[in-house]
């Protein structure tokens, strides 16, 4: 911890002192601190995340440090148990010029569409797949034209650890790969990627060796774009002495007319996924119809989506998607997901905006005569009004009708309403209310991601109030101070103009976000 504090202070001080004196030394960063106090039992949580990057000429060092007190339960599977809390530090060094971009340390990288390798972190879902190692990118610009680019990487899992005889031990997960993209003409490109990953099976010394290869062809013209990628996987599990083969295809075709577009996506994955690649699912409006770590051996799905702005004041969007579980190309008993939505937005001449929408989401698991899962139908309405300069009001309401087959086909209603006021972009007030006639399980611990069972209680209405003050301390620094009180159901929450995954919580929340 002391080491991290020192690094941070030195970096920030160097930046504060040197920026402006020289034009080749710069520092950027943000510190976000959150304090939560549970209303019922007075239990407290604190969380701080610091991101900073210091550039000197073409070289940079970066630090991302996260502190939790007490430890967030989501880390239990992956990090060293520590009653004092977690201190997670990621660092990297970097060189960049007009041709090369080379990094050493912690990094994220996606090869192609992610069919061969995707190292990333998603705290909301408890996914920690960043790599510690080296990454190099090079562009090939010749005669003022970019002919392509090449990527090579090598790394070990940045954070995955296991406990052995009470002592933490880094797992041996290792990934290496590369990608080559060539643009022989402006309207067409060819890409190829390969990755090799050794995944350590939890709690054993056994390894699973994966080899993946993918090739993609894409292109476009004024009225359309097309891209397709085909991948194969071969894996060998040393524990079960098993040789597994898989393959997958992902494609997208988009057509454009003036102020309107239609796109169609298609996927078929058969035994393709492993720990470091999560192929893109087809999705509508950010609902992922397969989870980021879906254990299903195969998936098939498609999506059709339209977007249009036929008149200056009118905006339309809509879409439909379907996906189900597969083995090979055959549909098997399992989950099938169907989703559709439509939205219409109108800008009136007096400063009023109205948006109406309707969404349908059905997630069903059908086994013989039995059905589980649910179907949700949600109409929504949003109105915002700016009567005078500096004063804006907004309100939105949605009513979700959920037929829950796991609860015997009963239908429940969820109502959600938000009202907000903004004064001159520095003061924001938000009041949110939700209720349901379904007794819902609510997690007591605010840091749990959705779906992780721990301790539950029952609640069917939530009221949350929040004040947000933005302070511009000089020409550019931005401090955002937020105080909220009440209870919230959790899930994806858009509050005070910021959308993020929030856990269920009731009590006091204080946050300060400072950029420097």
């Amino acid at each position: 911890m002391q080491r991290v504090t020192v690094v941070f202070l030195l970096t920030a001080a160097a930046g504060a002192g040197a920026v402006g004196i020289t034009d080749w030394l710069h520092v950027n960063g943000t510190n976000k601190a959150v304090y939560l106090r549970q209303r019922e039992d007075g239990h407290r949580w604190t969380w701080d995340i610091l991101q900073t990057e210091l550039w000197a000429w073409r070289f940079a060092v970066g630090v991302e440090a996260e502190f939790d007190h007490p430890r967030r339960p989501v880390y239990e599977r992956q990090f060293i148990p520590d009653p004092e809390g977690n201190e997670l530090v990621q660092r990297y060094g970097r060189y960049r010029d007009d041709v090369f971009d080379v990094r050493a340390g912690t990094y994220d990288k996606t090869l192609g569409k992610g069919l061969t390798l995707r190292s990333y972190e998603d705290r909301d879902f408890g996914v920690y797949q960043r790599l510690d190692g080296a990454l190099g990118d090079a562009r090939v610009p010749v005669g003022g034209r970019e002919w392509g680019d090449v990527t090579a990487l090598w790394g070990r899992n940045a954070q995955e650890k296991e406990i052995e005889e009470g002592k933490p031990k880094p797992q041996r997960d290792l990934a290496a790969g590369g990608q080559l993209t060539v643009r022989p003409f402006d309207f067409v490109y060819v890409t190829g990627s390969a990755a090799r990953a050794e995944i350590e099976n939890a709690g054993t010394k056994e390894m699973e060796e994966n080899k993946l290869y993918a090739g993609g062809l894409g292109g476009g013209w004024r009225y359309f774009d097309i891209y397709g990628e085909y991948a194969t996987r071969r894996s060998y599990d040393t524990q079960f002495k098993e040789d597994v083969r898989g393959r997958g295809f992902y494609g997208i075709l988009s057509g454009y007319l003036p102020r309107s577009s239609v796109s169609v996506e298609y996927k078929l994955y058969d035994n393709l996924a492993y720990a470091y690649n999560n192929p893109p699912p087809v999705s509508v409006d950010q609902y992922m119809i397969t989870g980021p770590t879906s254990p299903t051996p195969g998936e098939w799905g498609y999506l059709v989506q339209v977007s249009a702005n036929p008149l200056r004041e009118v905006r339309l969007r809509g879409g439909y998607s379907y996906a189900d579980d597969r083995v090979g190309e055959q549909k098997v008993i399992g989950e099938e997901v169907e989703q559709s939505f439509a939205k219409l937005r109108y800008d009136f001449p007096w400063p009023v905006v109205i948006e109406g929408g309707y969404e349908y989401l059905g997630k069903l698991n059908i086994i013989g005569e039995d059905k589980s899962g649910d179907i949700r139908r949600t109409p929504s309405l949003m109105v915002s009004w700016t009567p005078w300069n500096d004063h804006s009001f907004s309100a939105d309401f949605e009513r979700e009708r959920r037929t829950d087959y796991t609860a015997g086909g009963r239908t429940f209603i969820y109502n959600r309403a938000n009202a907000g006021y903004t004064y001159s972009s520095w003061l924001g007030l938000t009041l949110s209310y939700e209720d349901t006639d379904q007794k819902t399980q609510e997690s007591v611990n605010p840091w749990e991601p959705p779906g992780v069972p721990r301790v539950y209680r029952y609640k069917n209405n939530w009221l949350w109030g929040e004040v947000r003050i933005t302070w511009y301390s000089s020409t550019f620094q931005n401090h955002v101070f937020t105080v909220g009180y009440g209870s919230r159901r959790g899930g994806r929450v858009c509050s005070s103009g910021v959308c993020q995954q929030e856990a269920a919580f009731s009590g006091l929340k204080v946050a300060l976000e400072s950029s420097f």
């Binding site: 504090t5 920030a12 710069h26 990057e53 960049r96 796109s263 977007s307 907004s394 550019f476 931005n478």
Partner: protein
């Protein structure tokens, strides 16, 4: 708790203490645009005096509101550019171009699929907006979007161009001295 308090206070003090002349600068980046070509800040800056960067995602409703309102500013200022930086991952980035074209937008859109630029700027969440001068100095930044926030951005744009007009251009100086 002590650690958090210390870090919060230190960062807040440092941020407040940095003098106005110590300009925050756009980090170096190479990001793919929606046509798959790599773009650097210099490529964008060569076309405009001031560039508004808006970080957004296809699943973020306030971000889409902000794109609509910020896009309206482009008609008012000749020297202003707009770059929408999508924070969509490999899972959803395929839908970015279709959305942008369908909504009739003509501004430049970059894909920050691996979060490279977000990390370089320390962006904690979306939407997030910046005004960046063509020399790379960040002149204003704002976290979140509520209806009406675009007026603050407009004020800052007016202020920037007003100050630019007051300053004599470097070649004018030479002419006068000569």
């Amino acid at each position: 708790m002590r650690t958090v308090t210390t870090l919060t206070l230190v960062s807040a003090m440092l941020a407040a203490a940095v003098p106005a002349w110590a300009a925050k600068t756009m980090p170096k980046f190479y990001l793919q645009d929606v046509d798959g070509k790599k773009r650097a800040f210099e490529d964008v800056a060569a076309q405009y005096e001031l560039v508004a960067f808006v970080f957004w995602g296809t699943g973020c409703a306030p971000c889409k509101e902000q794109l609509i309102e910020t896009n309206k500013l482009l008609d008012e200022y000749k020297g202003l550019g707009l770059v929408a930086v999508s924070t969509d991952t490999a899972r959803t980035s395929s839908q970015v171009k279709s959305y942008i074209k369908g909504q009739g937008y003509e501004f430049e859109t970059l894909l920050d699929v691996d979060g490279d630029l977000q990390r370089g700027l320390g962006i904690p969440g979306i939407p997030y907006s910046l005004l960046v001068a063509s020399d790379g100095d960040i002149v204003w930044e704002h976290s979140g979007y509520r209806r009406g926030d675009e007026r603050k951005m407009k004020e800052e744009i007016d202020k920037f161009f007003a100050e630019r007009e007051k300053k004599p251009a470097p070649d004018e100086d030479v002419t006068q001295e000569g």
